[in-house]
């Protein structure tokens, strides 16, 4: 399948005096004067185009994208599952869209009831004792979590604890978050079987340990079997356990972070609870906490007073939670995204939750088995895959000079979005593949056929594979030039 070719810039469609006048408000008879020193002297250089120009241009641009709705998108660690349209339709109801974040309680009860019930459902599926919904992405939730860990130690006057332990395989956001919170990241390795190196952990923990950040299943696509021991070691050293919810999809309905001993976590609602990825956001990174961190949760949080028909909902503020780490968003987080997650959870229901984990894991293990049969090498063949798995193409790179990146680019030609490449960093020439539970066996089989074909092409036509993609709107881009000769904004030709 091929995509349309390039599209001009919107600015190139502009003609002086053209405009979508049907969108302009009527001219006002009397507009207050702006003092001359504060007034704009020249209009901003925005395009002057018709409504049709705009609609056609951005529709064409959309068609240059791969997306879940158009292509299989097995991007590891990103959980690119189908986003049910009902979630969008419900969040886009006019009353929800028009509701001001500072509206009075009278005009808030429907929205707040959804938010309260979402908090409750997230607590149930994670085993945590409190949930705050406002962090706006996974990394933002991480910030909230580590800030709470820091606040907890400070409240106990345990001021030396500023080290956050992070496995080498962790997402880059983990150490970056530690730094943002004024902590120091200390990295520890994993053993040959992919589990955390417990001996290294024992020698790393101490009186400076604030906590550890873990993903489970880990970024290696396998369940951390020693999790109970990890929890014991860190807790005995006085630290807390942070669960990075990036891979929650794998275990939804099967095992809960709260039961594994975690004290705080974030959930990527745009992964596990299927809110849209939107070309890179908006996400939602709700945080859950165990009993020790309840007082420190970010604000606002929704509370319910009364039961049944008499129930009234309200936002809690600093007056209710004086030890809170504070406010992390201008208003109430990505509220419209939270509504979508709420609808998704209500549709799945109790039974559906465990089906998610089961079918995500089934699809992943099936795809791994078929790809191994096709000649690909698993990074951890002795381990059971979770909802995702890693192939290592080290041998292919050494023998044919065809890298993981080349295979990824060639997949685009066959109409499949590439898996995650070169992450985690500790597996050479790796592809991290996550099919998700919403794909059919037929789609997975078609992907295997494409992968097998590419393996054969790597032997017969390695140059062709190295030059892939060939059927996209553009070929490989000159990233070096992009960074050296910065062209970050359109500049109108003067004169």
């Amino acid at each position: 399948m091929s995509l349309p070719m390039c599209e001009r810039l919107i600015f190139d469609y502009g003609r002086a005096g053209r405009g979508a006048r049907g969108q302009w408000p009527a001219a006002e008879g009397s507009v207050p004067e702006i003092p001359a020193s504060l007034r704009r002297s020249r209009p901003p250089a925005l395009p002057e185009v018709s409504e049709l120009d705009v609609v056609r241009h951005y529709t064409r641009l959309s068609q240059l994208n791969f997306s879940i709705d158009t292509h299989f998108y097995p991007l590891g660690s990103c959980t690119m599952k189908y986003n049910p349209r009902a979630c969008n339709a419900a969040a886009m109801l006019p009353e929800f869209l028009g509701r001001h974040p500072l509206a009075t309680a009278r005009h808030s009860q429907g929205f707040l009831a959804c938010m309260y019930e979402l908090q409750e459902m997230l607590m149930e599926v994670t085993g945590m004792k409190g949930v705050a919904l406002t962090p706006m992405a996974g990394a933002h939730g991480e910030f909230a979590g580590v800030a709470m860990i820091r606040a907890y130690h400070r409240a106990r006057a345990d001021l030396a604890r500023n080290e956050i332990i992070v496995p080498t395989a962790a997402h880059g956001t983990n150490p970056a978050t530690a730094t943002m919170c004024g902590c120091v990241a200390r990295e520890i390795g994993v053993g040959p079987d992919g589990d955390v190196d417990l001996a290294a952990l024992r020698t790393t923990v101490g009186p400076r340990t604030a906590g550890i950040m873990l993903t489970n299943p880990s970024t290696l696509g396998i369940f951390e079997r020693g999790i109970a021991e990890v929890a014991r070691i860190v807790h005995e050293a006085g630290g807390l356990l942070y669960y990075d919810g990036a891979n929650l999809n794998a275990i939804l309905g099967k095992v809960r972070p709260g039961d594994m001993g975690f004290d705080v976590m974030h959930m990527n609602l745009h992964k596990t609870f299927s809110t849209p990825h939107g070309g890179g956001g908006p996400g939602a990174g709700a945080v859950g906490v165990g009993p020790r961190l309840l007082p420190f949760m970010p604000l606002p949080i929704v509370a319910r007073d009364g039961e049944g028909d008499a129930a009234r909902y309200r936002w809690l503020s600093e007056a209710d939670r004086p030890q809170s780490i504070g406010r992390l968003t201008g208003f109430n987080g990505n509220a419209g995204v939270l509504l979508r997650a709420y609808v998704y959870m209500r549709m799945l229901g109790r039974e559906g939750m465990s089906r998610v984990g089961e079918y995500a894991t089934l699809n992943s293990n099936y795809l791994l088995a078929r790809l191994q049969q096709a000649g690909y090498v698993a990074a951890y063949p002795q381990r059971r895959a979770s909802h995702e798995f890693i192939l290592t193409l080290k041998a292919l790179a050494q023998q044919q000079g065809v890298t993981a990146m080349d295979v990824a680019k060639r997949l685009l030609d066959y109409g499949f979005h590439a898996p995650t490449t070169y992450f985690p960093l500790l597996v050479p020439e790796c592809l991290l593949i996550e099919p998700t539970e919403t794909e059919s066996k037929e789609t997975l089989d078609a992907f295997v056929v494409a992968m097998a074909t590419i393996l054969s092409e790597a032997g017969s036509e390695p140059d062709m594979v190295r030059g892939a993609p060939h059927r996209m709107p553009v070929r490989r881009l000159d990233d070096v030039r992009a960074a050296r000769e910065l062209d970050l904004a359109y500049r109108p030709v003067s004169g």
């Binding site: 408000p25 509701r99 890179g280 956001g281 908006p282 039974e351 685009l412 960074a483």
Partner: protein
């Protein structure tokens, strides 16, 4: 499928999870609903909240959104794509970001913008952290933030920067004008100041003397962080032209550009800066380059600043942006153009002037500041505001934002806003109802 795996059943796939940890029940999650059932529930919840006539602004503004904006944004190719890691399969998103960066650059008057941040509040926080990195002459990590900056933006900035030891010091405002007080600055003469934040229009809707404030900061080696409303930039001097040298970092909330109020999000934060500081900027940046055949194309660039490369030494932990909302903002700006945005800005100013005129004519109500404003104003009442807002809400009117919590020194103060989405008849209806309520209720 199980046969291909060599497993007897699905449960076997979870054999590595210790049995003691397995979930026994999820009793707290209700039974699943089908689409019809869940939509019925959501219609009912939406009806509960109703559609009041809104006069609240305070950082989130109700504007007309062209129907085409969300028709395009909701296309699956935008809605269900992810961060453009594979540039060849993401040219649509990448080119849209490039066009967005170009428009933000045009509106703000600074050379380079990033691909968006979470919202206006977090953008201010990121700007403060960035200023500390960028201002190498200053070692104080001290940022001055006037009380005329949105109180929630200040709260978020405190929460986001405290861990890194930033010193945020608040500046008083003049009671007569609602503007940042020049003598609040004078106490910092001779001291090391890293940056000064200036919000224009400020939280009260009042226009600050941005040229003088900018020059004051630059003369003392401090950077200037401008916080602006993008619609206002159609008529107000762009931050790139403030004072002698212009602001150094510009941020704001992009919500007025095509994003519905939606209970506070998702919105997007925008950020622009001078080319000199581009490597200190957080978030994704898209550049135009060429492919192997020399054809133009777009790609993520300067990624060495970011967490997935730099890990603990990254400029920020931010990973995603607010892609979908950024797309909405881009389409909105393209649709309106400079002339359309100017019309919107003027209609907002005219309607707010009408609103202030109509309400401050009522006995017991007066305008707090006589200073030039954009599309918000502070009104002072002779009695507590909260009961009035409750009574207005009972009549289907959201009358404004009660300033009592954040600015108790103002007394009974209400922040009101009227955009182009309000008609003259809406303004008259508000004035009529408020007039009746003021007559009914007694002065406290």
């Amino acid at each position: 499928m199980l046969a291909a795996i060599g497993a007897p059943d699905i449960e076997t796939l979870f054999e590595e999870i210790p049995a003691a940890l397995r979930v026994r029940s999820l009793a707290g999650v209700p039974e699943g609903l089908n689409e019809q059932q869940v939509m019925s529930l959501m219609y009912a919840r939406a009806r509960q909240d109703g559609r009041p006539l809104n006069f609240i602004g305070a950082g989130a503004y109700e504007h007309h959104i062209p129907a085409a904006v969300w028709a395009i944004v909701a296309r699956g190719e935008f809605y269900s794509a992810y961060t453009p890691y594979q540039a060849e399969a993401s040219q649509g998103t990448l080119q849209t970001i490039y066009e967005y960066q170009s428009m933000i650059s045009a509106l703000t008057g600074l050379q380079v913008a990033n691909a968006s941040l979470y919202d206006g509040a977090t953008a201010v926080a990121e700007a403060c952290l960035m200023a500390v990195r960028a201002n190498r002459k200053s070692s104080a990590a001290r940022v001055l933030i006037p009380r005329t900056v949105h109180p929630n933006y200040r709260a978020v900035t405190r929460a986001a920067t405290g861990g890194q030891g930033l010193k945020l010091e608040e500046l008083a405002y003049l009671r007569a004008s609602g503007q940042t007080a020049a003598d609040a600055l004078s106490s910092y003469e001779g001291q090391d100041v890293t940056a000064l934040v200036i919000q224009q229009p400020n939280f009260f809707g009042v226009l600050e003397e941005v040229d003088a404030l900018t020059d004051w900061a630059h003369a003392r080696g401090a950077l200037v962080i401008a916080v602006v409303n993008p619609i206002s930039l159609a008529v107000l001097k762009p931050p790139g032209s403030w004072g002698q040298r212009g602001a150094d970092i510009v941020v704001g909330d992009g919500q007025p550009l095509g994003c519905p109020l939606s209970s506070g999000g998702p919105y997007f934060g925008f950020m622009a800066t001078r080319m000199d500081y581009v490597r200190q900027m957080p978030g994704r940046i898209v550049g135009r380059t060429v492919d192997l055949d020399g054809r133009p194309g777009f790609t993520l660039t300067l990624q060495a600043r970011e967490q997935h490369i730099r890990r603990g030494k990254a400029t920020s932990n931010i990973c995603t942006n607010q892609g979908l909302l950024m797309i909405a903002g881009t389409i909105y700006c393209a649709m309106m153009g400079a002339a359309g945005l100017e019309r919107v800005a003027q209609a907002c100013m005219a309607r707010t002037a009408q609103l202030v005129g109509a309400l401050s004519r009522l006995a017991g109500v007066r305008s707090a500041f006589g200073t030039a404003r954009f599309h918000e104003a502070v009104l002072l009442f002779d009695r507590p505001v909260a009961p009035l807002l409750e009574a207005l809400a009972a009549n289907g009117i959201e009358g404004g934002f009660d300033l009592g919590l954040h600015y108790p020194e103002l007394g009974h103060a209400l922040l009101v806003c009227a955009t182009e989405a309000r008609s003259a008849a809406d303004v008259a209806a508000y004035a009529q109802r408020l007039s009746e309520l003021l007559k009914e209720s007694r002065v406290a």
